[in-house]
């Protein structure tokens, strides 16, 4: 790591806001040397609670995040917020508007709000988000909130970098609840029916409850009966294997609560915070937290490898005259994409036999 980056890192650890901002920029830009920086950050992380908040546009995410931050501050905790907005697929430009809604804590530097755009990098946003979270964690933030529109897989990956995921469901989305079913609703640890003073809020709550109970009955994203039985069983036996027994069922034991809020008035925010805290305690007590963190790091390693190998190949392609010529050859019917991919990858496969992953693993086995 060069001297400038070292200074920046030291400044971040000492609590200089500008250094934190600068490091997040480096992460976002993938500036030269950002990897060394992030590597150094790891040693200082692990103290923050990371909360992901997602939901459809206009569900009230930013407003709720604002109230959440305000309440945490009243309780004496520092807050970092990463607000992600889409960027234009055509120009790459973006208007990042979440900050406007976060007015309650404005002027308070202990709430660090950072707007990020989905810069159209290859799955890179979830990596950048995870790294930015690490920077805030190392800085010493107690709570880190990631806010993003719940539109697709990319966003699902982003909020998965959080320990606890809250999904906002505004009233009157009865029909869209159906369409959302096989996606974002599955990742919720806490449901928030925001704008609960509006017509149809009760109905939305009821529909969510129904969905959860059906899920519990068929064992999908399960909880409910199954979890309750398992718990009752372990209560009865006092044998030694109860621990392992509960371990295997841990993921099934959390029944996502449904919280009603009116973010603009701050109604229900305390209950919401209690539920977030309850989920965190559940994670820690049940041992699920370690499992989750492990999964997250596994995913990070995979993503890094994927991106790096991809970058290596891109460089190789570039030096060989770019992909355009090959694409033209396909267009002229001379070859096809599969054949080209095979040709390019054959030497890579040969090299893989030399890659000594076991040696890397052995290093940490002791």
């Amino acid at each position: 790591m060069n001297a400038d980056d070292q200074d920046l890192l030291d400044a971040l650890l000492e609590g200089h806001h500008r250094a934190l901002a600068r490091i997040i920029s480096k992460i976002e830009n993938r500036a030269p040397g950002y990897r060394d920086l992030v590597s150094e950050l790891y040693a200082h992380t692990g103290n923050a609670d990371v909360i992901g908040i997602t939901g459809s546009p206009g569900a009230g995410k930013s407003t709720l995040v604002d109230k959440l931050a305000e309440t945490y501050r009243e309780r004496g905790e520092t807050v970092g917020i990463i607000a992600i907005d889409p960027s234009s697929p055509f120009t790459g430009g973006a208007v990042l508007g979440d900050r406007i809604r976060m007015a309650s804590t404005i002027g308070d530097m202990d709430v660090f709000v950072r707007s990020m755009s989905a810069r159209g990098t290859l799955g890179g946003l979830s990596t950048a988000t995870a790294d930015a979270v690490k920077a805030m964690d190392a800085f010493g933030k107690d709570k880190i909130i990631i806010e993003t529109v719940g539109a697709g897989q990319n966003e699902v990956d982003i909020v998965r970098t959080a320990d606890t995921v809250a999904v906002l469901v505004p009233p009157g989305s009865g029909d869209s609840v159906q369409t959302l079913k096989a996606g974002i609703l599955e990742i919720a640890d806490v449901f928030v029916v925001n704008k609960a003073d509006r017509d149809g809020a009760d109905r939305t709550v009821q529909e969510l409850q129904e969905m959860l109970h059906i899920g519990a009955d068929v064992g999908f994203g399960g909880s409910g009966h199954h979890g309750a039985d398992a718990m009752a069983g372990t209560d009865g036996d006092s044998t030694d294997d109860t621990d392992t027994e509960t371990d295997s069922n841990d993921l099934d034991d959390w029944m996502p609560p449904i919280v009603e809020t009116v973010a603009t008035k701050g109604t229900g925010v305390d209950t919401f915070i209690d539920e977030l805290a309850a989920h965190k305690s559940f994670l820690v007590d049940s041992g699920t937290h370690a499992k989750k963190v492990r999964q997250r790091y596994a995913e990070e390693i995979r993503t890094l490898l994927r991106e790096d190998i991809n970058a290596l190949l891109e460089d190789e392609l570039e030096s060989a005259g770019g992909v355009d010529e090959l694409a033209e050859a396909v267009r002229m019917g001379e070859t096809n994409p599969y054949a080209i991919a095979d040709d390019v990858l054959t030497p890579v496969e040969d090299c893989l036999s030399e890659a000594d992953i076991e040696a890397v693993q052995a290093e940490f086995d002791s």
Binding site: S25, G93, A94, F112, V113, S115, G120
Partner: protein
């Protein structure tokens, strides 16, 4: 269409910023009590279409709030829109706030709005890079940002 243009239209979005993965970040700020943000909206949209990342502050912000946003968001460009005539008190406050966080040197500060000719030298002395009055073309502003956004 020439082959050169063809290439341009197919290039990755990020190539519109500065170098790989780099995008020009701007904060468009409304400071003080003036409530006219039409111009700020237009410029935000134009910057977006130019491929910049734009953070809009919203109306009626205090200088401290603008400084906080500029520092946290680590923007390359701070565009301040003032139509109230209070530029000679508000702009210096923002500049000294940036100074406090060590952000003054490498932030390109622009002022837009109604700024009388005789007030301009003073603002320039404060560290404002350019002042865009009524009638400035959007292309001119974008060009200025592209050429002067700090390399860092």
């Amino acid at each position: 269409m020439s082959s050169e243009q063809d290439e341009e239209s197919q290039s990755q979005p990020q190539s519109h910023g500065q170098g790989e993965g780099r995008s020009i970040r701007c904060l468009v700020a409304k400071v003080g009590l003036d409530g006219h943000d039409r111009g700020a909206h237009v410029i935000s949209r134009a910057f977006r279409d130019a491929g910049f990342e734009v953070i809009y502050s919203g109306l009626h912000k205090a200088p401290d709030e603008i400084v906080q946003a500029a520092v946290q968001e680590d923007v390359d460009v701070l565009g301040i829109s003032i139509l109230s005539g209070a530029h000679d008190t508000l702009v210096p406050k923002i500049m000294s706030g940036l100074e406090e966080y060590g952000a003054r040197e490498d932030t390109l500060v622009l002022v837009g709005g109604v700024i009388p000719e005789e007030d301009r030298p003073e603002l320039k002395e404060e560290g404002v890079a350019a002042i865009f009055g009524p009638g400035t073309s959007i292309e001119e502003t974008i060009e200025f940002v592209r050429e002067n956004a700090p390399e860092r």
